[in-house]
């Protein structure tokens, strides 16, 4: 269980996060949505231990986060920079396995198995740069999953992909979540996306001094489909509610 207790942060005089409290139960896919520049990435990097916790506490299963926690993986938006261009796709994915003391052959076999799962069986020996953006982000997801993390953080992972690729990867993410039961914190600025992939959506207010302004469960069926789910009346209602919260409009009133 991931728990944030009045987490605050400032850079110099600028207040970025202001008293963020959240509890994410195991296995939940939490979407965090908010306008650009509201501190979503800062929140994510704080949970990941990449930024020190300035105010409040972040705990994972009761242990306070201090440095990068065990069993945590992060997928960044900038797949091109996050992958190492001088390694093959397979070696990129196998890199985090080194600390498990496996032989090189075992590491590669495991990397290839996970690449197959994200739909990249043919690409193991290629370089990241030879792949399309969507495929590169699949590699980054494979690298995040290869150590079977208990907590997966995703920072606008599909933000720079075209619409079709983005939908494919959203479905891949849902499939991964269904089969692995990983807790996922998914940061996005896309309202539809936050509802489509999330079990729950948390809306942050625009910065500076961003806080949680809305927190709603997504009670859509677990099996989701890009066309039929998005046309459900419940989906439309949820996205409208999230949209209003993001824009800071009053939550009640005519739709």
């Amino acid at each position: 269980m991931l728990r944030l207790d009045s987490v605050g942060r400032h850079f110099g005089d600028t207040r970025v996060l202001d008293g963020i409290s959240l509890t994410v139960p195991d296995g939940q896919l939490l979407s965090v949505v908010g306008p650009s520049g509201c501190g979503k990435s800062t929140l994510l990097r704080t949970i990941a231990g990449l930024l020190p916790v300035q105010e409040g506490t972040v705990t994972i299963d009761g242990t306070a986060v201090n440095g990068v926690p065990e069993q945590l993986a992060v997928v960044f938006q900038e797949y091109g920079r996050s992958l190492l261009p001088w390694l093959t796709v397979r070696d990129n994915v196998a890199l985090p396995l080194r600390r498990r003391g496996l032989t090189r052959a075992a590491r590669r076999a495991e990397a290839e198995a996970i690449l197959e799962r994200v739909g990249l069986h043919g690409a193991a020996r290629r370089r990241p740069r030879e792949l399309s953006g969507g495929m590169q982000q699949r590699v980054a997801i494979a690298r995040a999953l290869v150590c079977r993390p208990a907590l997966l953080l995703m920072d606008e992972p599909f933000g720079s992909l075209d619409a079709g690729t983005r939908e494919d990867l959203e479905d891949l993410l849902l499939e991964v979540h269904r089969t692995n039961d990983t807790t996922i914190v998914f940061v996005t600025h896309d309202i539809d996306e936050s509802v489509y992939v999330g079990d729950r959506v948390v809306v942050l207010s625009p910065g500076p001094g961003s806080r949680v302004v809305h927190d709603l469960p997504v009670d859509l069926p677990r099996e989701r489909d890009q066309l039929s789910t998005r046309s459900l009346p419940e989906f439309v209602k949820l996205r409208t509610e999230v949209g209003r919260a993001v824009r800071g409009a009053p939550l009640e009133g005519p739709v």
Partner: protein, 281 residues
Amino acid sequence: MTRTQDSAPPASAPGPPRAGAVPFLLRWSVLLVAVACWELAARAQGSVYFPPPLRIARHARDLWFSGPPGRLFLTPAAVGTILPSLGRMAAGFALAAVTGITLGIAVGRSRRAYALCNPVLQFARAVPPPALVPVFVVVFDFGTPMQVASIVFSAVWPVLINSAEGARATDPLRLQVAAVLRLTAPERLWFLILPSALPRIFAGLRLSLSLCLILMVFSELLPGSDNGIGFTLTDAQTRSDLLTVWSALLLLGALGYLLNTGLLAVEKRLVGPGSSARRTA
């Protein structure tokens, strides 16, 4: 957090013009024409101080490259002249490279070390390398240690400064990735920092290599040297053996060209396509 554009250029992006852009024959024909002009001008002049290039080449061959095939056609004179020079240069270059890369990465990875060392480095680099040779003569006396020390002390700066710059410019996002993947310090160095810095390291090595050649010759010109290409040069000059002087110059040019070509080949292998090297190379 701002969203940064993906730094990877699309695979179809036009690369820098390759060497093949100018046909092989055309490139060499310019050299041929230049040599032909030299030959004609020298023959027309008939001066003993400016012998025609064909005579120089013939003299160089007789002097150094007319040995038995079993010894790679090297004459004893060549073994006694070229090998000591190359040996000192190789030792100097290797020491400069290892020291420069190690210290450079260390300095580049620490913001404080970089801030403290940068003025000293810039100063050390600004001193014309041959000016340091007299200092080493005093410290080491004449001979190989002095010569190697002169080479190392001149050639180390470009590698050091470029390695530091390269290590410093490691993509901060990739450092975050390394932290999240929980790479150990040696893994981070090997898989992230060194490959990131490699294009800059090679830029430094290329500069160092040419400095090595300069300092190799210069340190052999001093009194007290008794072998090497630089020694041959001064020795022939005192004997007014202009053909040998010109041959030594030709040999130095050829050596410089070959060594640089070799280094470029190594660079091409290590900093291959697919790495960020292409943009800085």
